[in-house]
Subunit: 193 residues, 4 copies
Amino acid sequence: MSRGTTRERLFTAAIDLIAERGFAATTVDRIAERAGVAKGTVYYNFGSKSALFDALLDFGITRFAQRLRDAAAGLPPDAALDAVVREELAFLAEHEAFARLLIAETWRQGGGDWQHAALMIRERVVGAVADVLRAAVDAGLLRADLDVPTAASAVFGMVLVVGLDWRALQPDRPRAEVEATLLDLLRGRLAAV
Amino acid sequence: MSRGTTRERLFTAAIDLIAERGFAATTVDRIAERAGVAKGTVYYNFGSKSALFDALLDFGITRFAQRLRDAAAGLPPDAALDAVVREELAFLAEHEAFARLLIAETWRQGGGDWQHAALMIRERVVGAVADVLRAAVDAGLLRADLDVPTAASAVFGMVLVVGLDWRALQPDRPRAEVEATLLDLLRGRLAAV
Amino acid sequence: MSRGTTRERLFTAAIDLIAERGFAATTVDRIAERAGVAKGTVYYNFGSKSALFDALLDFGITRFAQRLRDAAAGLPPDAALDAVVREELAFLAEHEAFARLLIAETWRQGGGDWQHAALMIRERVVGAVADVLRAAVDAGLLRADLDVPTAASAVFGMVLVVGLDWRALQPDRPRAEVEATLLDLLRGRLAAV
Amino acid sequence: MSRGTTRERLFTAAIDLIAERGFAATTVDRIAERAGVAKGTVYYNFGSKSALFDALLDFGITRFAQRLRDAAAGLPPDAALDAVVREELAFLAEHEAFARLLIAETWRQGGGDWQHAALMIRERVVGAVADVLRAAVDAGLLRADLDVPTAASAVFGMVLVVGLDWRALQPDRPRAEVEATLLDLLRGRLAAV
DNA sequence: TATGAATGAGATTTCATTCAT
DNA sequence: TATGAATGAAATCTCATTCAT
């Protein structure tokens, strides 16, 4: 089996398991078992459990950010914002396990390497949202004095939490409904009249 | 040292450590060490590591929910929504470690005990937000067909993520600025004109 | 069981086993088994396998050096030299396992902590021999220009190697005979006439 | 690359590493890495880690013993003893890593394979010293009742320990000085007058 | 002749829990 | 009410060896 294939199998297995139980509670034994390889293979490929986690986080974040950028590419600013929100929700639904992992392992403090991971999230995923907001500001669609980083964080967080709650509490609900509520909220269309 | 004092010291120590490393990665040894007591004392007072965590979560959530309810109490619906957002942000700033713990340990699945904890969050904290939204709908301030649970989740999540990013990335920024951006976003005041 | 007792039992067990197989080939499992304690107890008391080894080396060297000093104490320089040689041989016979460990694990290079251990040997055990030689020089019994450190190293090494070969190859030979050959060699009494 | 070259590169790498860390603590991975070949190449050439070690020990000991015999060949007994000591010291200086390996891995017991290696040392290297001593006894230069095996062990050990201490502690000291002290000690020329 | 990904047995280490004091 | 030495199950990690290429 090629090295690449093995690494991907381990990624998939690890994402699922870490999402379910968390990083610390997921054993290398189980990751190897689910990937269908020997335990030593994890260490041959990644060196340590936490190196596997780092690689996996990097892999997932890169894909996530790229998805958001691709969704917005070429659209006018107002449509781009809707597209980014839609795409984030779609990604969460598709990669629910990774989303759980992201929210559970990201907001750490002090723990050395985790700080680094947290910054990666901000820079790459939230950054994609911020870029769209900034383009909307430049196009005159949003207030010129908008606090873009905070707004990007707010949009990203709102969709993330709503997405996870949706999957956890009402998984049978159609995505369109959840999406509509989010877009209404975002566009200020909550008022009664 | 009184029992109450010992328990409180253990609470504080556990919150800090779990916020830093996560529940599974926090050892009873370190909790006891930071609290300045012997390891056996943890077991004498709480019986087990997870019982300590449950007690701590219950304690924190009760306070958090009560703060949100108190903030909204007696206010007209529109002012109540602002007040709840303000209070959530204030609580996050005051109890940053607990907030990190909350976001890190809540969205788990399959873990058995964790499901229970997750529901407690939803029912008690997000419930406080939902109550305010429902009152606004009843008062005709918000659309009658508003998806209240989703909106509550969105509001709670937006503030939570923005609050943690604020503390992590720009701790010196005045709370008023962050608050203003959040309220504008919530009230649909982002449009350029 | 008191902590002191447990540590001593682990020392004894570890010295025997490391002498037989070497440090790296001796498992913590076997050390614990021979000491009659659980494996975790080794870690509770010493923190790591190599910390146990360091403690054990320090313990053994301290005893060894003290035995040599005590043997020479109060004797005139010429008798002191004989006494030190006799005592070194006696110690090797009594603590054969520790002697094997000493010779096997001491002359390492580069490996970080081992350098430190090697210096301890030199400073404390060989130092005891050097002190006796220096006293003999001062008393006019040995050449004033004697290279004391090298001579001390030579005397120590000669007795060490002879002692280990004796135990390994001819364990039934009386110590007196081996001792006599060593003292003759040392005193320059090998010549035919 | 020829087979001979590969084997030599592996010898050199293994000697250095085993001298630094010991046999058990030296991994086949590191040997291959330092030799600049793939791990499988070690197995292709030697079949196993211990076979590599055996071959290396045999190679080194053969050379060592031969050097001692060559140095003594054709000399009168008294000059031969000096020559053997000088040559041993020279060999240690040239092949310091091998000497460390020798002293570290020789005095084991119970290890099964090691017993064999230990006997090889005794028979071949110390045997060369013993032969010279026996010739001196036969020539009437040394006491007829000299315990030749013990004396050979003593001479070999003295030079070995002094040589390693010299390289480890005072590598810049000229060999002639160390040599002179050893020969004086051996010839009983330590007395003050 | 050489490679290096994969293995799995066995090593070191961790840590929640117990219990005698 | 509190302690901390001891435990042992279960975790992480190592590494000699194999084998398809």
